[in-house]
């Protein structure tokens, strides 16, 4: 990755030198590209974690945009959590009460998905391009596990429900005008991580579009992990569940006995 990028830059520099050496404004302008990063590479989930924001910023290389407002380029930023299986259940009324009667399992669904763009994504690029790059809730591949006996309409309604519920939980976030240019080439967006953000590594992807064409993309990682006491307790609960359970019981019993002793009536 690193080498390729350096090579790219070197190439760009060489091209640039040739262009200058050539004197005239060459017909083939240097190609535009994108570089970006996140303000925080490490987000710590501690006992005081109440959600946070990360800033994703970047620059368009060789920008020909005359001003920040010109709208020559479109940027889409996607911050995605680890994919995992999710079951969507649907209730219906049976004998007067509401019961989960049908369900569909999606084998691989991003646990977290935030998308920010300079304008609504369907204005930026066509469906095929968004699908290919998995940009946007509707374009992320969400394969359902049992494919035999469900028709497309059912899958569609389960998938819609999945997206709607994830949005309601605050773990799928969309900001249509969340990316702003603050210079001819510099852009930024804030991505909010809610308190219930699933713990795990995040991938930040930045896409550069111009007139519906994808000119470049850039990828970066943000680590999201438990730290301090939070990490200790969670590891304890997962790796030594028996001891963890016993400690909980002992704490409970000690608290109960202490209170009874402290409040004991004289005589």
């Amino acid at each position: 990755m690193m080498h390729i990028r350096m090579l790219n830059r070197l190439c760009a520099a060489i091209v640039l030198m040739f262009a200058i050496a050539g004197g005239a404004a060459a017909a083939d302008r240097p190609k535009e590209g994108v570089e970006a990063d996140a303000s925080t590479r490490q987000v710590a989930i501690t006992s005081s974690f109440t959600g946070t924001e990360i800033l994703v910023f970047g620059t368009v290389e060789n920008s020909v945009q005359p001003s920040p407002e010109a709208g020559t380029y479109d940027i889409i930023i996607v911050v995605e959590g680890m994919p995992g299986p999710v079951v969507v259940r649907e209730k219906s009324r049976v004998a007067g009460i509401w019961i989960n009667t049908s369900s569909l399992m999606f084998a691989s669904v991003p646990s977290y998905y935030a998308i920010a763009s300079t304008r609504p994504i369907d204005e930026i690029a066509d469906k095929a391009l968004l699908d290919a790059n998995q940009i946007g809730f509707d374009h992320v591949r969400m394969a359902h596990a049992r494919d035999a006996d469900v028709d497309a309409a059912t899958v569609r309604s389960f998938k819609d429900a999945l997206i709607r519920l994830k949005e309601a939980q605050g773990v799928y976030v969309r900001r249509d005008f969340g990316v702003t240019f603050i210079g001819r080439s510099l852009f930024r967006a804030t991505i909010s991580l809610p308190p219930n953000v699933p713990v795990g590594p995040l991938t930040a992807r930045v896409y550069l579009f111009k007139e519906g064409k994808l000119l470049g993309q850039y990828q970066s990682r943000v680590m999201l992990q438990r730290e301090g006491i939070e990490r200790f307790i969670h590891n304890f609960a997962i790796s030594q569940p028996l001891a963890y359970g016993l400690v909980t019981v002992l704490l409970a019993a000690a608290a109960g006995l202490t209170a009874a002793f402290a409040f004991r009536k004289p005589a």
Binding site: V87, R164, L165, T248, A252, G256
Partner: protein, 308 residues
């Protein structure tokens, strides 16, 4: 002040949950019940995932019943032998209950089953307690107590095999009913996140005919061990015990319970039973309402158990 819960994976207000623990503790001290039947539904109501609510609630039951059990034991109000026999069944029942929760969760039927169980149990028990309390408070207080022990009843229970002598309770009876009762209480305790006193106490009185003076102590004795086992098993099997949440709830709970006990001493037993019956029915009605009314979203999400 907010705190991030390591197992529930959410940030909660400490004050809210301290207050919840204290309220439930107050009521459990007031009525002499474990309070699990209030705690688990209220936790769910406040957004704690149902599995975590049930499992963490069992640890709260440990805290709220241990001091009572100790006091009764000191005063000699516990039939330890009977308690141990029931506990043998209780441990099996708890194990089955915890695993039943696991199976139901995987099938997406956990919440429904818990709600239905709550509605049925609380509805029945609440109605009985309420009417019994109303009748008792209407009648003038008669000395000599009730005629709970009617000799000659339940002859089929006496005909069961494996007779055992329980000297403390002055009983010579089959070991089968205590084991079955223990098992049943262990099962619902693990599944509903409650102590199960409201099932245990009537069973001890009406089925086993344990002397009234020993009923509460023996019931608490069994509840301490069953809820402790349920907590550990939930931690092992379902990884759903949140120790941070437990500590907050227990801190509020043990304090609340002391004040509840003081308040309870100022009220008449019959009035307390009417209030308790009404409270239990309220919880049951609320859960029945939630089952019957159309949910705002018919769809729901669930993580796949065992997935990272």
């Amino acid at each position: 002040m907010t705190l991030y819960l390591p197992i529930a994976e959410m940030s909660v207000s400490v004050i809210t949950f301290l207050a919840l623990g204290a309220t439930v503790g107050f009521l459990s001290g007031l009525f002499g019940v474990g309070g699990g039947f209030l705690l688990a539904p209220l936790l769910t109501f406040l957004g704690i995932p149902p599995g975590v609510a049930i499992a963490t609630s069992t640890s709260h039951v440990v805290a709220s019943s241990v001091s009572g059990a100790m006091t009764h034991h000191r005063r000699g109000n516990v039939d330890v032998k009977l308690g141990l026999v029931m506990l043998a069944g209780g441990l099996v029942g708890t194990y089955l209950g915890v695993n039943f929760v696991k199976i139901l969760t995987a099938r997406g039927l956990f919440e429904l089953t818990v709600s239905l169980t709550y509605v049925i149990f609380l509805g029945t028990v609440g109605t009985i307690i309420l009417f019994e309390g109303i009748n008792a408070s209407r009648k003038p207080r008669s000395p000599g107590g009730s005629s709970l022990r009617k000799p000659g009843q339940h002859s089929w229970i006496e005909r069961l095999p494996f007779k055992m002598r329980f000297p403390r309770s002055k009983l010579y009876t089959s070991a089968v009913p205590p084991v079955v009762i223990g098992m049943f209480v262990g099962f619902i305790s693990a599944m509903m996140g409650i102590g199960g006193g409201f099932v245990m106490i009537p069973a001890l009185i009406y089925l086993l005919r344990v002397p009234t003076g020993l009923v509460i102590g023996t019931s608490l004795f069994q509840i301490v061990f069953v809820s402790a086992t349920a907590t550990v098993l939930h931690a092992v099997e379902n990884k759903s015990v949140d120790i941070v949440l437990a500590v907050i709830l227990i801190a509020g709970g043990v304090l609340g319970a002391q004040f509840g006990t003081m308040a309870g001493e100022k009220l008449r037993g019959e009035h307390l039973r009417v209030l308790l019956g009404a409270l239990i029915l309220l919880v049951a009605a609320r859960m029945a309402f939630d089952l019957a009314v159309r949910p705002s979203d018919l769809y729901s999400l669930a993580l796949v158990p065992g997935a990272p």
